[in-house]
């Protein structure tokens, strides 16, 4: 019988080939796609997230784990769709207007995907009205705003104001090197994530 713990370990190690092989094997043995996702892939990425927060692993390890998960997801996604398994929630993530930094934003995207969210990455230097437009189009329930510069932090404020003004019913979290919980509260964000792994915790807290 396929070993979902071994699949989780393959994701933790960032072993793409092994992740794909074990996913196929599990599905072939009739294990439900939801169980493969949760007990294999998400379980593996969950461990990576915990280790990242504890400074036991760093960005390169997270990236290769996320890539292993992504390859396995390509096998798994059609099966999930056929079985009617919905993602945890829809999230949309972007770096705010005037800011070109994408490493932090990309990590958040990967970690959210790794936790079972459907994530749309709308890139960097995103204007407030584009956020509004994309949220409307995707019906995202969770929105993540990233900024790395002190000078682009005010664009977060403007983006949140635009989203609120458009009357969109979504939870907004913010993050990035200069951002703090105090700033998040000040501009009316629903949550603040200190790092990519914490972004998953914040996003999950929105679902409760």
């Amino acid at each position: 019988m396929a070993d979902l713990q071994a699949l989780a370990n393959a994701v933790i190690k960032g072993n793409q080939a092994e992740s794909v092989r074990l996913t196929k094997e599990a599905l072939g043995e009739g294990i439900g796609p939801k169980q493969v996702l949760e007990d294999g892939l998400i379980a593996g990425m969950g461990v990576v997230g915990v280790r990242f927060k504890a400074n036991e692993v760093y960005i390169p390890e997270v990236l290769i784990s996320a890539r292993a998960m992504k390859m396995a997801m390509e096998v798994l996604e059609p099966k999930l769709a056929a079985a009617g398994v919905a993602p945890l929630a829809k999230a949309l993530v972007g770096t705010v207007q005037g800011d070109l930094h994408d490493i932090g934003k990309n990590l958040v995207v990967m970690m959210l995907k790794g936790a079972g969210f459907h994530v749309e990455d709308i890139g960097v230097d995103v204007k407030p009205d584009v956020f509004v437009e994309k949220i409307k189009a995707s019906n995202a329930q969770i929105v993540g705003l990233s900024a790395l510069l002190t000078t682009t932090m005010p664009a977060m404020d403007k983006t949140i104001a635009a989203i609120r003004q458009a009357g969109l019913d979504c939870k907004i979290m913010i993050g990035g090197a200069p951002v703090t919980q105090i700033y998040a509260s000040k501009i009316g964000a629903d949550g603040y994530a200190a790092d990519a792994a914490s972004a998953v915790d914040v996003a999950k807290s929105f679902l409760n």
Binding site: N55, P60, G98, L100, A177
Partner: protein
Amino acid sequence: MTGKERVKKAFRCEPTDYVPWVPFVGCHGGALLKINAQDYLKSSEFIVKGVREAIRRYRPDGIPVLFDLQVEAEVLGCDLKWASNNPPAVVNHPLSNGTKLEQLQIPAADQGRIKIALDAARQLRHEHPDIALYGLITGPFTLALHLLGTDLFMQMFDESSYIKKLLDFSGQVSQSMSRYYIEAGCDVIAMVDPMTSQIGPQQFAEFVTPCVTRIFESIRQQGALSSFFVCGHAQQNIPVMCGCRPDNISVDENIPLDYVRDECLTKNISFGGNLQLTSVLLLGDEIDAQKNAIACMEVAGQKGFILAPGCDLPYDTPIKNLEAIAPVVRDSYKRQVVMTMAARSDEDDRLNLKEYGQADKVIVDIITLDSEACAPCQYMVDAVKKVVPEFEGIVEWREHKIKYRESIVFMASLMVRNVPTICIDGQITFVSRIPPRDELIAAIQKRINEKFRMRIHQKKASLYVLDGGDEKTAMVRERIAQAVQELGAEVQIETINDPDTIYSYGVTPGQTPAVVMAQYQLKSLKQVPEVVVIKEWLKNI
């Protein structure tokens, strides 16, 4: 000891008279000249002017020529997106767009903005021989990321030998840049490699240590000093950074300074940092900046420490915040004042002293640390003490020692921010300056004259004619009316017939007609005066 000597001694962990202060002025130099970051970072003339202005205002011991980690990347083919109030950002990466590593050449000293930086370095060296000049170079890992993009992280696993070759190349670029800056006269080469904060110590040791160690060794051989700058959450890498044998490690507020101190000093490496860039220097005030500087110095201790911001100063960093730092670095007395004031009260605790100074006497308040313990405070108190008797009782003076909480509240309420300060009737008059006798007398006299004028304008009165039924009452009223008219005085005249009210003035009906005068003085409007203020009024009764 010159600034340069001070920085050099600190780098060698030798004793200094005070901690050297090195503000990392990059695009902020543009703000000092009121021009945008793009114009500033593209002109050696502006860079020289900006650094010159920073030296004049911030009184540093050392300063970088330029803080821009995109200079080398731009020459090597990265496109930049320029901003008005930030350094430029790299927007594409040649090695991920078809360029081969073998095609890249080590930049020459006259290429692109390298020439601008070196011209500025030579000019600044000529103008400021006594300041430690820092040449900033992009660290190999950060430069490699500029060249390849974030694929670098995964390729550390997938194609580690290629990444090692890339880092070897970017290390050679850093080494050449360090040579150019040393030849242009820089004393310190600061290798800035912030992206190493994204990797762990094992990867650091495998990929970064070999090329970086070579760079520091080459700087040493050229007789210059080296500093390894990192910013972000890079605490995990401090031990491996020390292993690369730089002369100094500089960190930002993400890493506890005591940790860096302990790691570095045991290996005889000096260290620097970690003034808070955003929350204090950019968004705080001068007092916040001074408190933060003192906190850094207290944690760091005297040995082998350079006080500096965590990284490139933001363009809009308030000038006054940076100007406030040199005084507390150089003067232990100023540090003591700031620390005492650190316990200053919140806005809520402040007294409403709007009406302070309305008493008949002129009040001279001297806010001191303690005139028995601090010389400037003592001289200021003495100056006031000597002058006051000349006013023969109409001037009172008081000392407020801010070692007591009520004095701190009083000081904050009067908006006093420096010690010692003289306030005359609540107005800040002499700040940190002992006034010459004549000047002090003139200031007090000016206030006496003001009060005199005010009193004439403010006074209103009522005259009560106590009428016990005597026929002379009408005559009294007539004469009062005539006097008021002739003087143009603002006086109300009222006739009182009620025997009880007449008695209340201590007059019997047999003593009428009598005249009682009551003077009124407006003391406060639409507010609740503090008890201390009311007491001042009552003393005049």
